[in-house]
Symmetry: C2
Subunit: 165 residues, 2 copies
Protein backbone atom coordinates (compact mmCIF):
# COMPACT_ATOMS: atom_id res chain seq x y z
CA UNK A 1 0.00 0.00 0.00
CA UNK A 2 2.86 2.31 0.80
CA UNK A 3 4.58 1.52 -2.51
CA UNK A 4 1.32 2.15 -4.34
CA UNK A 5 0.99 5.55 -2.66
CA UNK A 6 4.55 6.47 -3.66
CA UNK A 7 3.87 5.40 -7.22
CA UNK A 8 0.80 7.63 -7.36
CA UNK A 9 2.70 10.49 -5.79
CA UNK A 10 5.51 10.12 -8.32
CA UNK A 11 3.00 10.06 -11.18
CA UNK A 12 1.30 13.17 -9.82
CA UNK A 13 4.61 15.00 -9.52
CA UNK A 14 5.53 14.04 -13.08
CA UNK A 15 2.17 15.32 -14.30
CA UNK A 16 2.67 18.55 -12.39
CA UNK A 17 6.14 18.98 -13.90
CA UNK A 18 4.77 18.17 -17.33
CA UNK A 19 2.35 21.07 -17.37
CA UNK A 20 4.95 23.63 -16.31
CA UNK A 21 6.08 25.97 -19.07
CA UNK A 22 9.48 25.13 -20.43
CA UNK A 23 9.39 21.49 -19.43
CA UNK A 24 11.49 19.08 -21.47
CA UNK A 25 9.25 16.07 -21.05
CA UNK A 26 7.81 15.72 -24.56
CA UNK A 27 8.67 15.67 -28.22
CA UNK A 28 7.10 19.07 -28.80
CA UNK A 29 9.57 21.16 -26.84
CA UNK A 30 12.45 23.16 -28.22
CA UNK A 31 16.01 21.82 -28.11
CA UNK A 32 18.40 23.39 -25.58
CA UNK A 33 15.60 25.27 -23.76
CA UNK A 34 12.71 22.81 -23.52
CA UNK A 35 10.11 25.47 -24.33
CA UNK A 36 6.71 24.46 -25.67
CA UNK A 37 3.94 26.34 -27.46
CA UNK A 38 1.79 27.78 -24.65
CA UNK A 39 -1.91 26.91 -24.53
CA UNK A 40 -4.28 29.53 -25.86
CA UNK A 41 -1.65 31.97 -27.05
CA UNK A 42 -3.60 32.89 -30.18
CA UNK A 43 -6.13 34.72 -27.95
CA UNK A 44 -3.48 36.81 -26.20
CA UNK A 45 -3.32 40.57 -26.63
CA UNK A 46 -1.15 42.19 -29.26
CA UNK A 47 2.13 43.84 -28.31
CA UNK A 48 2.95 45.06 -31.84
CA UNK A 49 3.01 44.02 -35.49
CA UNK A 50 6.12 44.14 -37.68
CA UNK A 51 7.28 43.47 -41.19
CA UNK A 52 10.40 41.58 -42.24
CA UNK A 53 12.02 42.46 -45.57
CA UNK A 54 13.18 40.06 -48.30
CA UNK A 55 14.28 37.32 -48.42
CA UNK A 56 11.87 36.37 -45.61
CA UNK A 57 9.11 38.79 -46.73
CA UNK A 58 6.94 38.31 -43.68
CA UNK A 59 4.25 40.04 -41.69
CA UNK A 60 4.60 39.38 -38.00
CA UNK A 61 2.75 39.99 -34.76
CA UNK A 62 4.00 39.61 -31.21
CA UNK A 63 1.39 38.61 -28.62
CA UNK A 64 1.90 38.46 -24.86
CA UNK A 65 0.35 36.70 -21.89
CA UNK A 66 -1.24 38.81 -19.12
CA UNK A 67 2.05 39.23 -17.25
CA UNK A 68 3.73 40.43 -20.43
CA UNK A 69 1.02 42.95 -21.27
CA UNK A 70 0.97 44.34 -17.71
CA UNK A 71 4.76 44.66 -17.73
CA UNK A 72 4.71 46.46 -21.07
CA UNK A 73 1.98 48.86 -19.98
CA UNK A 74 3.80 49.67 -16.75
CA UNK A 75 7.21 49.82 -18.51
CA UNK A 76 8.47 47.15 -16.10
CA UNK A 77 12.01 45.96 -16.87
CA UNK A 78 13.24 43.31 -16.54
CA UNK A 79 10.08 41.38 -17.41
CA UNK A 80 8.88 39.27 -14.45
CA UNK A 81 9.27 35.51 -14.32
CA UNK A 82 6.31 33.93 -16.06
CA UNK A 83 6.28 36.43 -18.90
CA UNK A 84 5.64 34.69 -22.21
CA UNK A 85 5.87 36.33 -25.63
CA UNK A 86 4.83 34.64 -28.87
CA UNK A 87 5.73 35.93 -32.31
CA UNK A 88 3.54 34.76 -35.19
CA UNK A 89 4.84 35.12 -38.75
CA UNK A 90 3.27 34.75 -42.17
CA UNK A 91 4.38 35.23 -45.74
CA UNK A 92 3.50 38.70 -46.90
CA UNK A 93 1.14 38.70 -49.91
CA UNK A 94 -0.84 41.34 -51.77
CA UNK A 95 -4.51 41.55 -50.85
CA UNK A 96 -6.66 40.34 -53.76
CA UNK A 97 -9.41 42.71 -52.61
CA UNK A 98 -7.56 45.95 -51.92
CA UNK A 99 -4.41 46.43 -53.96
CA UNK A 100 -2.51 48.88 -51.70
CA UNK A 101 -2.68 46.39 -48.82
CA UNK A 102 -0.62 43.34 -48.14
CA UNK A 103 -1.88 40.71 -45.77
CA UNK A 104 -0.76 37.45 -44.14
CA UNK A 105 -0.32 34.47 -46.43
CA UNK A 106 0.97 31.06 -45.32
CA UNK A 107 2.11 30.80 -41.70
CA UNK A 108 5.86 30.27 -41.37
CA UNK A 109 7.22 30.17 -37.82
CA UNK A 110 5.89 30.68 -34.30
CA UNK A 111 8.57 31.81 -31.86
CA UNK A 112 8.23 31.78 -28.10
CA UNK A 113 10.19 33.51 -25.32
CA UNK A 114 9.60 32.37 -21.71
CA UNK A 115 11.05 34.30 -18.77
CA UNK A 116 12.47 32.19 -15.94
CA UNK A 117 15.43 33.98 -14.42
CA UNK A 118 16.66 30.89 -12.54
CA UNK A 119 16.21 28.22 -15.17
CA UNK A 120 17.56 30.32 -18.01
CA UNK A 121 20.12 32.37 -16.06
CA UNK A 122 22.82 31.85 -18.71
CA UNK A 123 20.66 33.35 -21.48
CA UNK A 124 19.43 36.53 -19.84
CA UNK A 125 16.58 34.72 -18.09
CA UNK A 126 14.89 33.75 -21.35
CA UNK A 127 14.17 30.33 -22.79
CA UNK A 128 13.19 30.24 -26.44
CA UNK A 129 11.46 27.98 -28.92
CA UNK A 130 11.00 28.24 -32.65
CA UNK A 131 8.17 26.14 -34.10
CA UNK A 132 7.26 25.25 -37.68
CA UNK A 133 3.86 23.61 -38.18
CA UNK A 134 3.70 23.13 -34.43
CA UNK A 135 7.00 21.22 -34.26
CA UNK A 136 10.23 22.62 -32.80
CA UNK A 137 12.97 23.59 -35.23
CA UNK A 138 16.37 21.93 -34.92
CA UNK A 139 19.09 22.66 -32.40
CA UNK A 140 21.20 24.73 -34.83
CA UNK A 141 18.35 27.25 -35.19
CA UNK A 142 18.12 27.57 -31.42
CA UNK A 143 21.84 28.18 -30.97
CA UNK A 144 21.70 31.53 -32.76
CA UNK A 145 18.88 33.25 -30.82
CA UNK A 146 20.53 34.57 -27.72
CA UNK A 147 23.70 36.07 -29.24
CA UNK A 148 21.65 38.34 -31.48
CA UNK A 149 19.27 39.44 -28.71
CA UNK A 150 22.25 40.02 -26.42
CA UNK A 151 24.14 42.08 -28.98
CA UNK A 152 21.19 44.26 -29.97
CA UNK A 153 18.60 44.61 -27.19
CA UNK A 154 20.28 43.81 -23.88
CA UNK A 155 19.09 47.26 -22.71
CA UNK A 156 15.46 46.16 -23.17
CA UNK A 157 15.81 42.87 -21.26
CA UNK A 158 16.81 41.11 -24.51
CA UNK A 159 13.41 41.78 -26.12
CA UNK A 160 13.16 43.54 -29.49
CA UNK A 161 9.46 44.29 -29.58
CA UNK A 162 8.11 47.43 -27.92
CA UNK A 163 4.51 48.12 -26.95
CA UNK A 164 2.62 50.41 -29.29
CA UNK A 165 -0.51 52.23 -28.12
CA UNK B 1 -43.64 62.22 -6.03
CA UNK B 2 -44.85 60.91 -9.35
CA UNK B 3 -42.94 63.60 -11.23
CA UNK B 4 -39.83 62.81 -9.27
CA UNK B 5 -40.14 59.14 -10.19
CA UNK B 6 -40.52 60.00 -13.85
CA UNK B 7 -37.46 62.25 -13.69
CA UNK B 8 -35.40 59.43 -12.21
CA UNK B 9 -36.72 56.99 -14.78
CA UNK B 10 -35.84 59.35 -17.60
CA UNK B 11 -32.34 59.84 -16.21
CA UNK B 12 -31.88 56.07 -15.90
CA UNK B 13 -33.01 55.53 -19.47
CA UNK B 14 -30.64 58.21 -20.71
CA UNK B 15 -27.79 56.56 -18.84
CA UNK B 16 -28.68 53.19 -20.29
CA UNK B 17 -28.76 54.64 -23.80
CA UNK B 18 -25.47 56.40 -23.18
CA UNK B 19 -23.53 53.22 -22.48
CA UNK B 20 -24.80 51.43 -25.57
CA UNK B 21 -22.26 51.14 -28.35
CA UNK B 22 -22.87 53.49 -31.20
CA UNK B 23 -24.68 56.07 -29.14
CA UNK B 24 -24.59 59.65 -30.41
CA UNK B 25 -24.72 61.34 -27.03
CA UNK B 26 -21.22 62.79 -26.85
CA UNK B 27 -18.61 64.73 -28.78
CA UNK B 28 -16.42 61.65 -29.19
CA UNK B 29 -18.65 59.71 -31.56
CA UNK B 30 -18.32 59.44 -35.30
CA UNK B 31 -20.48 61.55 -37.61
CA UNK B 32 -23.28 59.74 -39.49
CA UNK B 33 -22.95 56.54 -37.41
CA UNK B 34 -22.46 57.71 -33.83
CA UNK B 35 -19.79 55.08 -33.13
CA UNK B 36 -17.35 55.58 -30.26
CA UNK B 37 -13.99 54.00 -29.39
CA UNK B 38 -14.91 50.93 -27.33
CA UNK B 39 -13.49 50.56 -23.84
CA UNK B 40 -10.50 48.27 -23.45
CA UNK B 41 -10.10 47.47 -27.13
CA UNK B 42 -6.29 47.54 -26.93
CA UNK B 43 -6.45 44.29 -24.91
CA UNK B 44 -8.58 42.47 -27.49
CA UNK B 45 -7.25 39.51 -29.44
CA UNK B 46 -5.63 39.92 -32.84
CA UNK B 47 -7.53 39.03 -36.00
CA UNK B 48 -4.64 39.80 -38.38
CA UNK B 49 -1.91 42.34 -39.15
CA UNK B 50 -1.55 44.08 -42.52
CA UNK B 51 0.63 46.55 -44.33
CA UNK B 52 -0.51 49.50 -46.43
CA UNK B 53 1.73 50.69 -49.25
CA UNK B 54 2.77 54.27 -50.03
CA UNK B 55 1.60 56.97 -49.76
CA UNK B 56 0.14 55.83 -46.41
CA UNK B 57 3.06 53.51 -45.56
CA UNK B 58 1.42 51.94 -42.54
CA UNK B 59 1.52 48.84 -40.44
CA UNK B 60 -1.90 47.83 -39.22
CA UNK B 61 -3.54 45.35 -36.89
CA UNK B 62 -7.19 44.43 -36.61
CA UNK B 63 -8.38 43.40 -33.15
CA UNK B 64 -11.80 41.99 -32.27
CA UNK B 65 -14.03 41.71 -29.22
CA UNK B 66 -14.97 38.23 -27.95
CA UNK B 67 -17.99 37.97 -30.27
CA UNK B 68 -15.81 38.85 -33.24
CA UNK B 69 -13.11 36.31 -32.38
CA UNK B 70 -15.65 33.53 -31.79
CA UNK B 71 -17.37 34.34 -35.11
CA UNK B 72 -14.05 34.28 -36.95
CA UNK B 73 -12.98 31.01 -35.40
CA UNK B 74 -16.34 29.38 -36.22
CA UNK B 75 -16.44 31.00 -39.71
CA UNK B 76 -19.81 32.54 -38.78
CA UNK B 77 -21.18 34.89 -41.45
CA UNK B 78 -22.77 37.34 -41.18
CA UNK B 79 -21.08 38.47 -37.96
CA UNK B 80 -23.57 38.60 -35.07
CA UNK B 81 -24.92 41.86 -33.66
CA UNK B 82 -22.50 43.13 -31.04
CA UNK B 83 -19.42 42.27 -33.07
CA UNK B 84 -16.84 45.05 -32.84
CA UNK B 85 -13.66 45.26 -34.89
CA UNK B 86 -10.93 47.85 -34.32
CA UNK B 87 -8.13 48.54 -36.76
CA UNK B 88 -5.02 50.20 -35.36
CA UNK B 89 -2.58 51.86 -37.75
CA UNK B 90 0.91 53.27 -37.41
CA UNK B 91 3.49 54.75 -39.70
CA UNK B 92 5.86 52.10 -40.92
CA UNK B 93 9.48 52.77 -39.94
CA UNK B 94 12.72 50.81 -40.07
CA UNK B 95 13.76 49.19 -36.81
CA UNK B 96 16.87 50.93 -35.43
CA UNK B 97 17.90 47.64 -33.82
CA UNK B 98 17.35 45.10 -36.59
CA UNK B 99 17.67 46.47 -40.09
CA UNK B 100 15.59 43.92 -42.03
CA UNK B 101 12.57 44.68 -39.83
CA UNK B 102 10.16 47.56 -39.97
CA UNK B 103 8.03 48.37 -36.97
CA UNK B 104 5.23 50.72 -35.90
CA UNK B 105 6.09 54.41 -35.70
CA UNK B 106 3.61 57.16 -34.88
CA UNK B 107 -0.02 56.07 -34.52
CA UNK B 108 -2.23 57.43 -37.31
CA UNK B 109 -5.88 56.31 -37.22
CA UNK B 110 -8.02 53.94 -35.19
CA UNK B 111 -11.01 52.64 -37.14
CA UNK B 112 -13.99 50.88 -35.61
CA UNK B 113 -16.76 48.72 -37.11
CA UNK B 114 -19.80 47.91 -34.94
CA UNK B 115 -22.40 45.36 -36.05
CA UNK B 116 -26.02 46.29 -35.35
CA UNK B 117 -28.20 44.94 -38.14
CA UNK B 118 -31.21 47.06 -37.17
CA UNK B 119 -29.55 50.37 -36.44
CA UNK B 120 -27.24 50.23 -39.45
CA UNK B 121 -29.51 48.36 -41.85
CA UNK B 122 -28.74 50.74 -44.71
CA UNK B 123 -24.98 50.09 -44.50
CA UNK B 124 -24.88 46.32 -44.37
CA UNK B 125 -25.49 46.27 -40.62
CA UNK B 126 -22.24 48.07 -39.84
CA UNK B 127 -21.66 51.41 -38.18
CA UNK B 128 -18.17 52.85 -38.52
CA UNK B 129 -15.92 55.38 -36.87
CA UNK B 130 -12.52 56.72 -37.81
CA UNK B 131 -10.56 58.35 -34.99
CA UNK B 132 -7.39 60.43 -34.99
CA UNK B 133 -5.80 61.09 -31.60
CA UNK B 134 -8.99 59.77 -30.02
CA UNK B 135 -11.24 62.24 -31.87
CA UNK B 136 -13.60 61.33 -34.70
CA UNK B 137 -12.60 62.37 -38.22
CA UNK B 138 -14.95 64.60 -40.20
CA UNK B 139 -18.14 63.61 -41.96
CA UNK B 140 -16.56 63.54 -45.43
CA UNK B 141 -14.18 60.76 -44.32
CA UNK B 142 -17.12 58.73 -43.04
CA UNK B 143 -19.10 59.06 -46.25
CA UNK B 144 -16.61 56.97 -48.23
CA UNK B 145 -16.40 53.86 -46.01
CA UNK B 146 -19.40 51.81 -46.99
CA UNK B 147 -19.23 52.11 -50.78
CA UNK B 148 -15.74 50.61 -50.83
CA UNK B 149 -16.61 47.76 -48.43
CA UNK B 150 -19.78 47.08 -50.42
CA UNK B 151 -17.97 47.01 -53.76
CA UNK B 152 -15.13 44.77 -52.58
CA UNK B 153 -16.11 42.51 -49.69
CA UNK B 154 -19.88 42.18 -49.65
CA UNK B 155 -19.34 38.40 -49.83
CA UNK B 156 -17.53 38.51 -46.47
CA UNK B 157 -20.19 40.55 -44.66
CA UNK B 158 -18.46 43.78 -45.75
CA UNK B 159 -15.32 42.97 -43.75
CA UNK B 160 -11.89 42.90 -45.44
CA UNK B 161 -9.83 41.27 -42.72
CA UNK B 162 -9.70 37.49 -42.46
CA UNK B 163 -8.60 35.46 -39.45
CA UNK B 164 -5.10 34.03 -39.67
CA UNK B 165 -4.07 31.08 -37.49
Amino acid sequence: MKIRYLTLLTAAMATFAGVALGDTGGGDVSPIYGVKLPDGYRQWALVAPAQEAAPLDELRAVLGNDLAIKAYQASTLPFPDGTVLVKLAWKHVQSPEFEPASIPGAATTVQVMVKDSSKYASTGGWGVGRFINGKPADEAQHQTCFACHQARVQNHDFVFTRWVP
